[in-house]
Symmetry: C3
Subunit: 345 residues, 3 copies
């Protein structure tokens, strides 16, 4: 038997400064859009109606921001995280241009940091990944870091380079899509009356709804993003016989649930950070709550930005415990995401 298959990269295969062009560009169209709405209870009017989007100055309803994120992320998996032990964090994520049905995305990652672990069996790899459309314009850029196994524990330790990353994307750096305007925004059609000024820093919103997750759903989703990590698909792979749900599935579920209370926080424009606090499995009932972390003006009059913490959990309704006394995430918490969204002022 020959090995023409991809074993994935190991820690010692990365070099700081190296740029990896990821495989399998992908044209995303109406079908992916419909599947997104079947897989997640997404109801943001800007992503549901061409007419609502046109009334907001866009050429039509863009593909959901997280479709772009998952597609770009999925491209990176065979090169970055096939041998990853853990997905450690995100930073400096910015959506740079709306993506529409028919656009073709590809991705590249630059290795921007490496730190061997003291146990000699693994290390941390930082990459800055950029997604490009068919005109080679960047549509999304973010930093992700993962712990990756070494192929050979005897391989010499590389020099440690830890990138200097912003704790939060500066509101001045948020990219407002060209033409976006909330002047003619119809709050009734959008589903809620709450504007930028109605949200107070520190305010916590319980999103009320819940979804019990099925195996078929998370596998359909993860395949759609061409994410091939076998832990999501092969029930014989983990010792407990359970398939781990792709962390991005939980992000999309929680974001969609947050419509109820944040219906007007229409566009995700930055990802400040995020932690997949505990694994999610089929059968879990996922709930979500949000905390308003900050508010900012943007370069466009009438368009405000909210910095939001989005927490997904599998605990009881209304349980908004985040961490225990030890500073660790409570065992029912699945996701702690920090992002900027655009909302009418």
């Amino acid at each position: 038997m020959t090995t023409k298959t991809n074993p994935g990269r190991f820690f010692e295969d990365y070099r700081v400064g190296e740029v990896i062009r990821h495989a399998v560009p992908r044209t995303i169209a109406e079908g992916e859009r419909a599947l997104y709405h079947a897989l997640y209870p997404a109801r943001g009017a800007l992503y549901s109606s061409d007419m609502f989007a046109a009334d907001c100055g866009l050429e039509g309803s863009p593909l959901d921001d997280l479709i772009v994120f998952h597609t770009v992320f999925g491209k990176t998996v065979p090169d970055i995280s096939l041998n990853a032990v853990a997905n450690l964090g995100y930073a400096e994520g910015r959506w740079l241009k709306p993506v529409y049905a028919g656009d073709t995305l590809r991705a590249e990652s630059e290795v921007i940091g490496l730190r061997p672990n003291s146990n000699g069996t693994s290390g941390v790899v930082w990459v800055r990944t950029t997604g490009y459309d068919q005109t080679d314009q960047p549509v999304l850029s973010y930093v992700r870091w993962v712990m990756v196994r070494k192929r050979d524990n005897a391989a010499p330790a590389c020099e440690t380079v830890v990138p200097d990353l912003a704790a939060v994307v500066d509101p001045g750096a948020l990219v407002i899509p060209e033409g976006l305007s909330f002047e003619g925004y119809d709050f009734t059609l959008a589903g809620e009356p709450h504007r930028w000024g109605d949200y107070a820093v520190g305010e916590v919103i319980d999103h009320v709804d819940a979804v019990t997750v099925e195996e078929a759903e998370h596998m359909l989703a993860t395949r759609l993003w061409q994410n091939t990590a076998k832990v999501h698909f092969d029930a014989t792979f983990r010792e407990d016989g359970r398939r781990l749900i792709y962390g991005g599935h939980v992000i999309s579920l929680a974001r969609a649930l947050s419509f109820n209370g944040l219906a007007n926080a229409q566009m995700i424009v930055a990802l400040n950070g995020g932690a997949h606090a505990n694994p999610c499995f089929a059968g879990d009932t996922v709930r979500a709550w949000s905390e308003v972390l900050d508010r900012a003006e943007t370069s466009v009059p009438g368009v405000g930005a909210l910095r939001l913490r989005l927490v997904a959990h599998k605990g009881a309704p209304g349980d908004n415990t985040l961490k225990g006394a030890d500073g660790k995430y409570a065992p029912h918490v699945l996701l702690d995401l920090d992002y900027w969204a655009l909302i009418p002022q």
Copy 2:
């Protein structure tokens, strides 16, 4: 924790004559169409092939009539049935214009009736809901009535207004899509030879096929219509830990199964009434039978109308019991639907 979330309307929040504009308009395209065909064994040639539809005088294959129904219905849920105890009935439903991929739908409901229950804890609300396309032309109109809880049992009882509803849509009021013609209708491609004249009033057709329903399927479908009632998604919501399947899922399943025997009953043009007789849960095996209730000519030569009772059940193959001696639906009956369909003469 703040409550920016939508608690839904309660019985005392409705006023006769009030018009509710529902949130989240939706552009429906090729993706929703494909998902419909993946979720239901739909095979009507007019809804499967652009060429077949063109040969029938239409601009292309319209979206399935029930996609339009589910989408419009889904829009109403947050305003009408979030606090509903029961979905009691439908009447005077008419499809007014075919909907094509790329159209954008929104919905409005007028409250046309209110009746407080004598127990003082709930009441019946009648609404006439209309779906509109992007040109503000109506595409579907129907009456639905639901039993809704009161927020405050001490709230004063309103005046009772019970609308006068037609038992059956008059065949003269059926809207035949502009251009529709069955002159060049290809019965071989359609799948069956049976014409309007081949069906006798009183005739019962067992549709033979059956589908065992999975959780992932009904949740994908219900999300696709942006129907957010938590009883369909949250396995912790009901005491028995079971997710109730959206009644419309059963309608679409039964209608698709009815292809086998009614392949030429192509277009649904009216909904005379309907009852969700018993709840449906994942694991149930759904079967269907139809009864020809009436036949009518239409304004277009060659286009006939059949009034059909469509029954979905989870009983044994061939069991066409509808009601018991007590006049109540047999426990295996899920759906009793009464509609008009167009068929070549």
Copy 3:
């Protein structure tokens, strides 16, 4: 109760030379394409990206070759295999023209062979099925033979006609899509560096990945191809209460898994043969391996052909046993498929 439903054809209903026009033509578009990528871990760059396909001389990314196969196959089920006891084999399959989103497919089958079984209760039917697009150009042709029950065991035996079928499609008969060129082929974007010349006859490739199958997935897929055989949908139909997974679902799963090692074997152009060795059920974890059976030049410089055996199984990782000492398929083998694919030289 009347029987307007289709009981399917029985063995004595077929005549050699007869041509059957199958029902329900189907327009396939972006939605079916997206669902294919959600249902199978398909990553062939030519079928993922319009730009990659354009760089290979095509007008855009065609629909996956197996979408065409499943759609055409699905059309034949009500006429050919509704009363089939077994799907016995395939031969002389050729893809004749790429199919694009928006094309409408229909199918015809010519009965080319009949052989009554000696037990008098069934017989073998050979059909050559051709799929046509909206311009009546053939897009796919293949021979399939099935064992079909007799309606009446006393029906007289017909004359035996066994067609003379090629064991392998001659490489000279492979149809290379008009304009196809691998001159500007980007191996990095395609995902692997291996060319035609890198594969040796006899080489075996274990595709490493695995997928545990869910009921909802195979039913969504099978419905999408409008395949109505009840054994796939009705859990009460078989005595063991299990739904048999459509054999084509296993073909697509295995083909998609074979990306890992055969990423550049982009286009399926011929089906030499195939056996559904054992049934597949939900819960099975499907793996795949391939064997290079032959290599051939084609009429287009730079475009080579590989003849591949694709085996799907539900055994342990790396188990590439095909048959036992008795010459029968090992019990864990699900599929043994023999096809030609195009690959850059």
